[in-house]
């Protein structure tokens, strides 16, 4: 048991780094995922993950596989797309899903173009899928910073975010914070995706953001426990994914996301608000 569960993390530095990096990532990304889901923007994370590609690719093209330039590039591209799509939806008739789709497709095409300038598709795979087993100190510091900033920002803007999700018109009638809160939130989404791409790659970091959140929805009907539970699911996915990856020699990123996927599927079936409890079991009911 010890050999299977604990030893890999004790014996190997790269496993410790991978664990620390992915857990910190989950700490910030999972609550952000909960709000994305509650705002019905679950696919926005996916779109944003594509949108940061040209920035990351430009950084990669200029400086090689370096975390800092790629991160800054990704951040810039992500913020441009988030602001552009957010502004179009807030100030024109177009809804956010359409404007987001338009902006991220443009961005993705640009990204593929930039990567192809360098040549090989192996590079592209690296940018898209990352590698959690090769996290260096820079990357760990960056992830720690991002999860810290994320938690702090969520704590400060919590009330505005909840109000903006629950009753946006009410918030507009008592405060001007609705629109800034929305953009700050989009900024957090970009930040966490960028933080994740060194470890998991742009595509898989969305998985760590959305799958635990989606799973947590089946267990609770309040926001605070949902965020905590989402992080819990995220953390379990990280540990089990890394273990599976270590013992079965599988790529670590997909193993983590598939673990989260397994938790999601189990939650659909067995969650307190899942299929078995709400559909299949016959409920006794009270008289009033």
């Amino acid at each position: 048991m010890y050999d299977f569960l604990i030893a890999p993390f004790v014996e190997f530095g790269f496993m410790q780094r991978a664990l620390a990096g992915s857990l910190m990532l989950a700490l910030g990304a999972c609550p952000v995922g909960v709000f994305l889901m509650l705002r019905r923007m679950s696919l926005t994370g996916d779109a944003m993950a594509h949108a940061i590609l040209p920035g990351a690719a430009a950084g990669f093209l200029l400086y090689g596989l370096q975390i800092v330039p790629m991160t800054i590039g990704g951040l810039i591209a992500g913020v441009i797309v988030a602001l552009g799509a957010g502004a179009v939806s807030r100030f024109t008739v177009q809804r956010e899903d359409a404007s987001m789709a338009a902006f991220y497709l443009i961005s993705l095409a640009l990204g593929v173009l930039i990567v192809s300038l360098r040549g090989s598709s192996v590079d592209l795979m690296h940018v898209l899928f990352g590698t959690v087993l090769a996290l260096n100190d820079d990357a760990l510091t960056l992830i720690a910073l991002i999860s810290g900033v994320t938690l702090l920002t969520l704590a400060i803007f919590w009330r505005a975010l909840v109000a903006e999700c629950l009753d946006p018109l009410f918030l507009r009638s008592v405060s001007r914070l609705g629109t800034p809160a929305h953009f700050i939130f989009l900024g957090l989404v970009v930040l966490n995706l960028v933080g994740g791409f060194q470890a998991l790659g742009t595509l898989l970091s969305v998985g760590l953001m959305m799958l635990p959140a989606a799973a947590a929805r089946f267990w609770t009907s309040r926001v605070e426990p949902m965020c905590v539970l989402a992080f819990g699911f995220g953390a379990i996915s990280c540990v089990s994914g890394l273990l599976v990856s270590y013992h079965a020699s599988l790529p670590s990123g997909p193993a983590i996301i598939l673990s989260a996927g397994a938790i999601y599927l189990a939650s659909i079936l067995f969650g307190t608000r899942g299929v078995f409890n709400t559909r299949l079991r016959r409920h006794r009911h009270r008289t009033a």
Binding site: F157, R159, L166, D167, L169, F170, S173, L177, R217, R222
Partner: protein, 283 residues
């Protein structure tokens, strides 16, 4: 009028250069209880949005006397009922004007929330998820939120829609309580019997005010007939409404849509009615 809570100066509100409220002048007295009536599309909800400020005026201005806090219950709520929140979370939103983004909720605040829930007959519902509430219960909860907001000017847009008679009675009692506390209340309503029975003042709208003042005067058959002939449709070929210098229209004010300053006149029967019907003069 020195004790006006709300003043309209040549206020025109609308959408895409078509006015929904046209050149409204007048004021709402502090502590008054006013029903806003009129056909569908006569500009009642638009007026409410203009007062709260979620819709920018096309021309003119609408001023809420400074220091007055406004509470607004919209007709078409953007409330997301699938959001995982409890009744107490929803009602606590009403603490925003007092506590803002970061202020801690004190024991007093929590007390005011439970008192509000009791006042609307929802004690014991604190922990219920909002997606399990009936329409009437939700409306009661939203009234509780208005109570918590503790506002000086309360705007209710069709609060009696799809609500049973008992709930209407309870909500009316709350409105009268606010009136008794010298708060200013404006309520959009359709049930004229209800308006006659409970509202001292009425504004009858048909894009322009058809009549405004004491309820029994306003709701006279000839006024109602005039309002009923109101032509709700927009006409794309309607002539532009030219600024009338004689009245000193301030047409250069806010232009949220960046349109031409001018806007359409309607062809409605109310057209021959003076634009500048003034507000109630009741003491």
């Amino acid at each position: 009028m020195t004790d006006a809570c709300l003043t309209f100066k040549d206020l025109t509100l609308g959408y895409n250069s078509h006015p929904a409220v046209h050149h409204l002048n007048g004021s709402i007295r502090s502590g008054s209880l006013t029903a806003v009536v009129g056909a569908n599309g006569s500009g009642k909800s638009t007026l409410m949005k203009g007062i709260v400020g979620v819709l920018k005026p096309m021309a003119g201005i609408c001023t809420v006397t400074s220091g007055k806090r406004v509470a607004y219950l919209p007709q078409q709520s953007e409330l997301d009922r699938s959001f995982p929140a409890r009744v107490v979370d929803l009602v606590s939103l009403g603490l925003w004007p007092r506590r803002g983004l970061l202020g801690r909720y004190t024991r007093e605040d929590r007390d005011s929330v439970s008192k509000a829930l009791m006042a609307v007959g929802l004690e014991g519902f604190e922990k219920r998820a909002i997606d399990t509430l009936s329409g009437g219960q939700l409306q009661r909860a939203l009234f509780a939120r208005v109570l918590v907001q503790d506002a000086d000017l309360i705007l209710l847009d069709e609060p009696f829609n799809a609500v049973d008679a008992k709930t209407v009675g309870d909500l009316i009692k709350l409105i009268q309580r606010w009136h008794g506390e010298n708060r200013t209340v404006m309520v959009v309503a359709h049930d004229l019997e209800l308006v006659r029975a409970h509202f001292p003042n009425t504004l009858l709208l048909a894009r322009q005010p058809v009549a405004w003042g004491e309820t029994q005067e306003v709701l006279r058959p000839e006024n109602l007939l005039k309002a009923r002939r109101f032509d709700e449709a927009w006409h794309d070929d309607a002539p532009w409404c030219e600024p009338d210098d004689g009245h000193g229209h301030a047409h250069s004010h806010a232009h949220a849509h960046g349109h031409d300053e001018r806007h359409h006149h309607d062809h409605g029967e109310v057209h021959d009615h003076p634009d500048h019907e003034s507000g109630p003069r009741a003491a």
